[in-house]
Each structure stands twice: as structure tokens, then as C-alpha cells.
Amino acid sequence: MLSRIADSLFWLARYIERAEDTARILDVNYHMLLEQSQDSYQLRWEPLIVMAGEEHLFRRLYSEVNAENVFEFLAFRPDNPSSIIQCISKARENARTIRDCISREMWEDINGLYHMVGRFSPRDEIVAGPHRFCDRIKFGTHRFHGVTDATLPRDEGWQFLRIGWSLERAEMTSRLVDVQYQNLLDELPTTGTPDNHQWMAVLRSVGAVEAYHRQYHSSIEPEKVAGMLILNPQHPRSIRFSTTEVQSGLRAISGSDRGSYTNEAERLAGKVVERLSYDRIEEIFKQGLHSYLNELSAMFALIGSDIARNYFYYAVVA
């Protein structure tokens, strides 16, 4: 398989995932935050920007952190390289150049999603609130997954897609948990009690509310939520699950056996899976959740760049 094609498949998947995760987080948090009191208004919107990793850019473009600006920034701004419309657009560009390698339905789906997004008027949507828009995005990305699942042979191409969306998901979830937790810790002194609403929102944004209740029967407790999202081996949006997918995908491509690795990306992925398989949430909190998740994020970045170095843009040694 040509490197360029693998690169496009990988990023197609990453951008679709990024669009979906951003839409999920935006949708759930927006409405939850609007229900809250006016005092912590500003404070509550910031985490969304921090999660997206574009704090500096936001500050340059907007003077105030409020609902409309955050929505516009995360969903519609063309100068935000990770805005939802930018992600969909880039995903579509990648799909277009590799049309021969994906199924016709996959192409038509992404192309349709791209055109649908293009028909939204940002002004109208900002007035209406993000729910309609985000819902459509999710519908589109879900369809994409469904069509891919149903029509694409499980060859190298499919593995790169799988690695792409899994790595992106692991990264996004890690940011989500990290920022939320830090945010809530800041809140604690003023309110005295943990804000269950916020944690509910986190669970809802990854569609894990029911799973949580099934597992934990208890009320929302931050440690348990963090544990679910980081360590749960079965939930498709947990960091452990996603990273395991990355590892499996990498192994499928390189043909490595279990217990060994062929390249740095595999080695790092293996390390992360190992930790996530055997760490307990209490140990994580003892180390410090932020520092733990920080390390994970750093690993994911290294895995991403090593995949690029190995398969897409390898440095040629004369």
C-alpha cells in the first residue's frame, strides 16, 4: 500500500473522530452549562476550549468566553484547524484523493456529510443552539462507521482507519477527563461538594451513563467515572479499549506476535495498554490524575508521530 494512501486513511479516520468527539462534548456541555448559575458562567466555558487544545487561538479571536463564541469557535471557524467543519472538510479531502481505495458508499457518505455541513448557516445554528447541528454530525459520523464496517474489507487500509479513529479517541478522552477533573477540583473549595452534573455530562458525552450505572449501581462519584473512562476494558470509548485497538491495528499491519513489537509506536502502545490493564484507579489518583493523563497524552502524541515516521514519511537513510 502506498504511504500516501495509508496516510490519508489514517487522517480521514482521525478527523472524523475529532469532529464527532467535539460535537459530543459541545452538545452535552452546552446545555448543561446553560442550566447552571450565572456566577461560574465564564469558568465553565473555558474547559471546553482547553479540552480542544486551542486556548491561545481562541483568545486571539475573541475577547469574551461565552456560549456563542465557544460554539462558533469549536464548530464553524475556518481558522480553527480543529473546528468541526474543518475536520469534516479535511476528512472529505482525504477521502476524495483515495476514492479508489474506499467503498463507493463510504465516499458518498462523507461527501454527503460535507455538503450537508456546508448548508448550515452558522448564524442560525448559533441562535438555535448546538443540539441540532451536533446531532447531525453524530448521525453522519455514525453512518460513516456503519458503512465502513459493512463494506470495507479488513485489509491494511481498514487497519489504518481503525488505528486513526482509536488513537484520536484515546487522546480526546484523555483530554476530556483531565480537564474536567481539574476544573472540578477548582470548584471544590467554593461549593464544598463535587458537582455531579458535570460528571454526568462527561459520561453522557461518551454515551457511558447507562454502562456506569450498570457497573456501579451507586451515585456518580468522580473516581469511579474516571476509572470507567480510563480503565474499563469493554466500553468502546474508554482509553484502555481505544489504545488496545491501536495496538491490535499496529500488530496486524506489522505482523508482530503478542509480547513483541516491531517499531516504536507498537512499543509505546504496548506500554500504555500494559499500564491501563494493571493500574487501579486509586493508584492513579495517588500519583495524581493530571500527571497520569498528561503522560498518556504525551505517549499518544509520540505514537502518532512514530506511525507517521514509520509508514508515511519515513526518513530515508542513504
Binding site: M1, L2, S3, R4, A6, R96, T97, R99, D100, R104, E156, I253, N310, Y311, F312, Y314, V316, A318
Partner: protein, 508 residues
């Protein structure tokens, strides 16, 4: 969707078979031969022998039934994505290449003559290219002016003295033929030996037609065309510098924004070779490699569907992002083979076309079998004067352009266009040639608005493959049809369409 289409076809075929025979041939109602050679009819109502069976078929169905089939054919093309891209107004629109169901039919004897003529021509063109980039005997013997060669913008100096694998320059040629209504004979209109396209339509048209007119097709005993990809693949593998059976062959395409991309992708798939763009290739130490996820893989043969000037920014256009820096150095070192060779444009320069009969005599010692159209070369002062004086009567073309662009059809052009061309020709005469307007032959074609058949002008582009010894020509080729009544322009981007071309096993 595909299955549904074929089921419907089966249904219609069965329905029609059950219909009583003596029906008014409403498709042909009002069909007029005009003053042109009609390929189907020698006289009104009298089909020529090769068309007898098809005429019978068409005469027994109504225009409604025909229309249904036409829609199904269009649908199947759409589903398969057989489109081409038109670049105008800055948008890229994908269009179906209109396909007309009525085939154009040639008797076997007629085709054999064409085949011999084309073979002769391909051999001569290849020898010419070997010579002009080698010893240049033909120049030394004064058979063609040196200045004409060296002023040709497609003459590539980098090719002088470069030895190509097996001496083959013209692996793939598309030679355009037209039948002159006055004489009923075929003439060569132009040669295309750089990157001729259209074979994908030939293959797809055949596929669709066999499913829509299966009985007429089988009854006529038509020679097959589907061996093209296998033949081309064989030739490509045979020019690999490393020899052996494991030649790594790739198809180099400018990418999805190229109007012929569908064909690139189609052929790559049919031949089972990798479709690459310039950025997938890299040259190291004079060897071409492909960037794959398993590392660099050596490339032996490049079937390049890209103009010379974009191939290598080091040798040609500096700003080309489509090419591979250093490709010419690898080519020169003999480490990679290119098909077609670089520099072929000097052989299909329309000003040099007039000398091809001379090439045939000079290199093969034979008289040309196929006739060429009288051509005025504006680079010659005498011809230039004539052309400027008779602009409204002539067809003027640029020497290197294909696709019908930059062409003037004198008799139908308005005064402004004539003035424009007068200026252009005067400023750069070397770039223009002129030919008399040829009354092209016509074949019945379906007119959607009137729901009847009408005569439409056609040309023929056979595809010739050359392996160094033998010329293999796919029987028939692409018949392009000017779908607009009275129009002589057959190119896809300007209102043209295509037909399936049948060469019969016998005479009909």
C-alpha cells in the same frame, strides 16, 4: 442496483422477443441521409451488409422501447462512475460521457485494410522517433526540414542520444481516422502518440452494449476488444530494465483533478498495477522507488499518463509539483522504462504529420496504405498566405493541442473568431496548420428530443499497441460522435459522445 438493472434488461428483452415482427420502424421515421456517406445505409431504407442484422433489430422496436434501453445504459454508466471531468467556470463537474446505443459497424475486409495501414504508420512513427533522437539520418538526407523539428515545442532535447528500452517510443498510439463522404475512404486525421486516452470508454461501451443488445451482438459475430489490458500489461512488463517476471509496473497519473482520471484508475485496476502520483515516487542514485508502508520499493516501468513537461521539475517545468525530480536521470541511466517514451510530441506535431507518408517511404520502403488529409503548414510562407486568404473555408488547428481546443472551423465561425485566429496565426505561424473541411460520414444516432434516429458525424480512434516487433490493434476502437445535429466536433468536452465500434468476423 446493478442486479436490478440487468434484471430489467432481461425483462425487456423477453418482452420484445414476444412482440410481432412487422412493426412500423418508428425509430427511422424521417431518417435523412443528407449529402453524406451514411455508414448504415447505402440508400434510404437499404442497410449496408454489415448493418443488416442490427437494422433488423432496430426496425422491430418502438422508440419508447429504445428509450428505455437508453436510460438503462445511462444508469449503468452512472453507477460505474464512468465520468470525465470538465473544467470550466472554475468548477469541476463530473459528466457522463454520452453513449449512443447504435453501434458503428465495419466489415472484416475493411478493417483489415485499416489494420495494415495503421501498423505501417506506427512502425514508421517509431522509427522516426528513434532516428530523430539518434542518428538523425532523415534530417541529413533532407527529407524533412531540420528547422521544423527543432522549432517543434515538443521536441525534447534531453532525449537526444538517450537509448530507450527495446527501441520502443510509441507503446500506445491513438490514430484518429475519418471517412470522407465524397470518396467513402478512410483518411488519417491525426496521430496521438503522447498520452492518447479513451480506451476505457471502448471497453466499458462494449460491456454495456453486449448486455443491452445481446442478440444483435451475438448474431453479428463481433471481434472482441477486452484483450487490451492484458496486451498492454504484457508490453509494459517486457520493457522492464531488470527483465524477469517480477517487473514492478506503475501507472503515473496527475491525480484526481485530471480529466482522464477515471481511465487511469480503470486501467490500473484492469492491469493489476499500482496507481501512483508523482509524490509517491522518489529517485535515489538513479533508481526510481515507490513509497509504501513497507519501505521503498523499486519501480521498473512507469506507464505515465502525464505530459512530458510535468514529468520532472529538474529537467522540464520547474514549477511542476506533479512530477518526480530526477526521473529523467533514472530514465537516462536505463534504470527505469517509461511508456510512452518522452519526446513523442515531435511525431504527432500536426505540422510534421504531413511528412508521415514520407516516413513510411523512407523507413519502410513502402507506399502509405492510409491516406492523409491535405495539410497547409503555416510555418511555410506559401502555405501561410493561402491559409490567411481562405480562413473561412478551412479547419485550423494548433500543432500540439488535442481535445478540439484551440480549433477553428472556418465555415461556421463568426467574424470576431476569424479575426482572432488571423492574429494568432500571424504572430506564431509555426503553431498552426489548416486542413480543408472534410464532410465526415454519419451513423444513425438517437436524438433525445425527437425520440428518433438522425445521422450524426463520426470519427474513429483505433488504439494501437507496439511491443517492438508487432503492432497489436484492438479491432475497431472508439467511435466518437458529434451529438449535435450538423456539428463536426466530436470531443467529449464539447458536446461529443461515443459509440461502440464493431468489427465483424466476416462481412456481415
Amino acid at each position: 442496483m446493478k442486479v436490478l438493472t440487468w434484471r430489467l434488461l432481461e425483462y425487456y428483452t423477453a418482452m420484445e422477443a414476444a412482440r410481432p415482427r412487422a412493426m412500423i420502424p418508428s425509430l427511422f421515421a424521417g431518417y435523412d441521409l443528407g449529402n453524406f456517406y451514411d455508414e448504415m445505409f447505402s440508400r434510404p431504407g437499404e442497410p449496408r451488409r454489415p448493418y443488416a442484422k442490427v437494422f433488423e433489430r432496430l426496425a422491430s422496436i418502438s422508440s419508447e422501447q429504445f428509450d428505455e434501453r437508453r436510460k438503462l445504459a445511462d444508469l449503468s454508466f452512472l453507477i460505474q462512475g464512468i465520468t470525465f471531468t470538465v473544467y470550466s467556470d472554475g468548477r469541476n463537474t463530473e459528466r457522463l460521457f454520452p453513449f449512443d446505443l447504435i453501434p458503428r459497424i465495419l466489415a472484416n475486409s475493411e478493417w483489415r485494410q485499416i489494420d495494415r495501414g495503421l501498423t505501417q504508420r506506427v512502425l514508421a512513427l517509431n522509427l522516426f522517433l528513434q532516428d530523430v533522437y539518434g542518428k538523425q539520418c532523415i534530417l541529413k538526407d533532407g527529407k524533412i526540414p531540420r528547422s521544423l523539428i527543432y522549432s517543434c515545442p515538443y521536441f525534447v532535447r534531453e532525449m537526444v542520444g538517450l537509448e530507450v528500452p527495446r527501441g520502443i517510443f510509441t507503446h500506445v498510439c491513438g490514430i484518429d481516422l475519418v471517412r470522407d463522404s465524397k470518396t467513402g475512404e478512410f483518411y488519417v486525421l491525426e496521430d496521438n502518440v503522447r498520452t492518447p486516452s479513451g480506451i476505457s470508454y471502448v471497453l466499458e461501451n462494449r460491456l454495456v452494449l453486449t448486455r443491452i443488445f445481446p442478440d444483435a451482438f451475438h448474431a453479428s459475430e463481433v471481434l472482441p476488444v477486452d484483450h487490451y489490458p492484458a496486451e498492454l500489461s504484457r508490453i509494459l512488463r517486457s520493457i522492464s530494465p531488470r527483465g524477469g517476471d517480477d517487473a514492478q509496473v506503475v501507472l503515473l497519473s496527475p491525480g484526481i483533478y485530471n480529466s482522464a482520471y477515471f481511465e487511469h484508475s480503470f486501467l490500473a485496476r484492469q492491469m493489476g498495477i499500482e496507481l501512483v502520483e508523482g509524490r509517491d515516487l522518489i529517485v535515489d542514485g538513479g533508481i526510481v522507488f515507490m513509497k509504501t508502508i513497507r519501505g521503498l520499493q523499486r519501480v521498473d516501468v512507469i506507464y505515465r499518463r502525464m505530459d512530458d513537461e510535468f514529468l520532472d521539475p529538474l529537467a522540464f517545468r520547474r514549477d511542476s509539483l506533479l512530477g518526480v525530480p530526477g526521473l529523467m536521470s533514472a530514465y537516462r541511466s536505463g534504470n527505469v522504462a517509461l511508456a510512452n517514451a518522452v519526446g513523442n510530441g515531435v511525431a504527432d506535431d500536426k505540422a510534421i504529420y504531413a511528412y508521415v507518408p514520407e516516413f513510411i517511404r523512407y523507413y519502410l520502403g513502402e507506399d502509405p496504405i492510409l491516406r492523409t488529409v491535405e495539410t497547409y503548414i503555416c510555418a511555410k510562407p506559401g502555405d501561410l498566405n493561402y491559409v490567411l486568404g481562405h480562413l473561412a473555408e478551412l479547419v485550423v488547428k494548433t500543432v500540439g493541442e488535442s481535445g478540439g481546443y484551440g480549433m477553428l472551423i472556418g465555415p461556421t465561425a463568426d467574424r470576431k473568431t476569424l479575426e482572432l485566429f488571423r492574429n494568432r496565426i500571424s504572430q506564431n505561424p509555426r503553431n498552426y496548420i489548416a486542413q480543408p473541411v472534410i464532410p465526415l460520414s454519419r451513423v444513425p444516432s438517437y436524438d433525445v428530443s425527437s425520440r428518433r434516429l438522425g445521422g450524426r458525424h463520426v470519427d474513429l480512434r483505433p488504439y494501437c499497441l507496439f511491443d517492438g516487433k508487432k503492432v497489436v490493434i484492438v479491432p475497431g476502437g472508439l467511435t466518437r460522435v458529434a451529438l449535435q445535429r450538423g456539428s463536426l466536433v466530436v470531443n467529449s468536452s464539447q458536446g461529443g459522445g461515443s459509440k461502440d465500434t464493431w468489427v465483424l468476423r466476416g462481412e456481415g
